[in-house]
Amino acid sequence: MTVIEARGLRKVFGTSIALDGVDLRVDEGRILGIIGPNGAGKSTALNAILGLTPYEGELRVLGRNPWTERALLMRDVCFIADVTMLPRWMRVSQVLDYVAGVHPRFRRAKAEGFLAKTAVRPASKVREMSKGMATQLHLALVMAIDAKLLVLDEPTLGLDILYRKHFYDSLLNDYFDHKRTIIMTTHQVEEIQDVVTDILFINRGRIMLNCSMEEIEKRYLEVMAHPEHVAAARLLAPIHERQVLGRSILLFDRADRFQLAALGEVRTPSIADLFIAMMGNEAGESQGAAV
């Protein structure tokens, strides 16, 4: 089942183009990480998907038009924008009462079960909580809602490493069941490396790369070349080259693994390195558009 389908999605703020004709398709059961520099259009894309902003082009989320059917769509979609969006004056018990009141798919007992394992007390107010606790509260709400799509926009911004680790662990172990779909944006690329099934690089409102993690493993290889083989490696048309401790690391798209193995140590690049390679090229305008 297709959860999100976008064709020619476009959004312009004044003179700046936030989304420049994005085509996107996300199927059920995927965890998509959207990665891009500041101002690349990540949040705009999520806002369009959530019905928070109007757009040009075609967009269907769970078969609905998010801009005209937001209230209905929100029965099946949850989102956490960042930790500061819970109303600060609310008590935990009030948050639970309210969500139980308005959300037909919310299981209060389940949320209370999650919260019982945390330091969040029913009488505490959101304003009295640390960012980490507020995130736990929001996560407990989301986990207790039987939604089809979860959207996370920088969900772990400002959290310490323990809470961040816990957040993704809960997400994978307690929430994700291969029928649900998750889309997330983050700057902490290395943290979602082992979480996502697909990645999408976006820059200046355009998609630079959209593929599954398996595809990345198949397509991209990184070689830490022996100094005497660097020149030979460069002849194989690497898409990026960087220096680490005086040694050249070259990144290849669809290269022959055996051929590369003769030149140095071969490995699959991290998402962060791949991202830097592609964005670096884009900045230098050498071959970014070719991706």
């Binding site: 949850c78 989102f79 956490i80 924008a81 969006m85 600060r88 309210y98 037909p104």
Partner: protein, 307 residues
């Protein structure tokens, strides 16, 4: 029944309810959450009632002497003198409720954008229409019955207090109890509160619109009509806009009532003019503007994100 929501057999029973039921549920909880957030809606009228009662009990110390003097007066002035504190109490509570309503509306759509909680509210299956109507219903539907109860309770406590004091001072009961009929009839109060809230509906709607539209300084934007009035006065020496604002604030009295012949006297049932009020163009034009402002506020809430 709604067939569309029956597509999924495993969906919870509440999903199979007709949309009207889930919409009224969303409305109910949206109003409840407004009351949780803005406790001054209940507390401010109660606090004013408390202050009025406190003042009344201080003045009640001299009540016996005053009452003896009042009983010398003719029937009409007797009534006016006895009724005065009750009317003042009601007026104070109504004024407090109006001020609370104004402050509430100015923040209703601004505060949620300022603290980004609008993102949380919008992540729930509650439409912008429901959200704005729930906010508009606080001053227009929730507060009038609330202050009706507060005023009646205040009046009864005042009556009880003065009865006890007068009895203790040796005035005999028959001269005291007729004052019950000096209480404003509840029906006049219900009528008065309805007239006021219908007349003020465009004011509340305008304030909601301002709070959904202004990025900052909602209070200054809300005073724009007053600024226009001052400008007109200075620039053209006329005061059409000023009298328009004045009419919108207090015009309900002239349109809804026959003013009493004796200054300060009570409004009696005979002095209500619902026919005149309902045929006043000012009422319907005002309500049309209120509807327009609310529609614009709904649209703004849809388009505007956090500030």
């Amino acid at each position: 029944m709604n067939t569309q929501s029956n597509v999924e057999p495993e969906s919870p029973s509440s999903l199979n309810k007709p949309p009207a039921a889930s919409a009224s549920r969303a409305m109910y909880w949206s109003i409840r959450r407004e009351l949780w957030e803005n406790r001054s809606i209940c507390f401010a009228p109660l606090a004013v009632a408390g202050v009025v009662l406190l003042g009344f009990s201080f003045s009640a110390i001299q009540l016996p002497q005053r009452r003896r003097a009042v009983l010398m007066l003719d029937e009409v002035h007797q009534r006016v003198a006895i009724q005065m504190p009750y009317d003042i109490a009601a007026a104070m509570i109504i004024l407090a409720a109006f001020i609370v309503g104004v402050i509430y509306c100015l923040d209703a759509l601004h505060g949620e954008r300022r603290d980004r909680s609008v993102l949380f509210w919008k992540s729930m299956p509650v439409s912008d229409l429901t959200a704005v109507l729930s906010k508009a219903s606080i001053p227009m539907l929730i507060m009038p019955p609330l202050i009706f109860v507060v005023i009646i309770a205040t009046h009864l406590i005042m009556l009880l207090l003065s009865t006890v004091i007068l009895l203790m001072s040796g005035l005999n009961a028959p001269t005291i109890w007729p004052q019950i009929r000096f209480l404003p009839p509840p029906l006049v109060l219900v009528y008065g509160l309805t007239v006021i809230v219908l007349w003020h509906a465009p004011i509340y709607a305008w304030l909601l619109l301002v709070s959904g539209w202004a990025r900052r300084a909602t209070f200054l934007w809300a005073l724009l009509p007053v600024a226009i009035g001052i400008f007109e006065r200075v620039a053209f020496g006329s005061s059409h806009f000023g009298s328009f604002v004045r009419y919108r604030l207090i015009g309900w009295f002239d349109e809804g009532f026959i003013p009493p012949t004796v200054s300060g006297a009570h409004i009696e049932l005979m002095q209500l003019t619902p026919g005149k009020f309902l045929s006043t163009p000012g009422l319907w034009i005002g309500l049309a503007f209120a509807a327009g402002f609310l529609a614009a506020a709904v649209r703004l809430r849809r388009y505007r994100g956090p500030i």
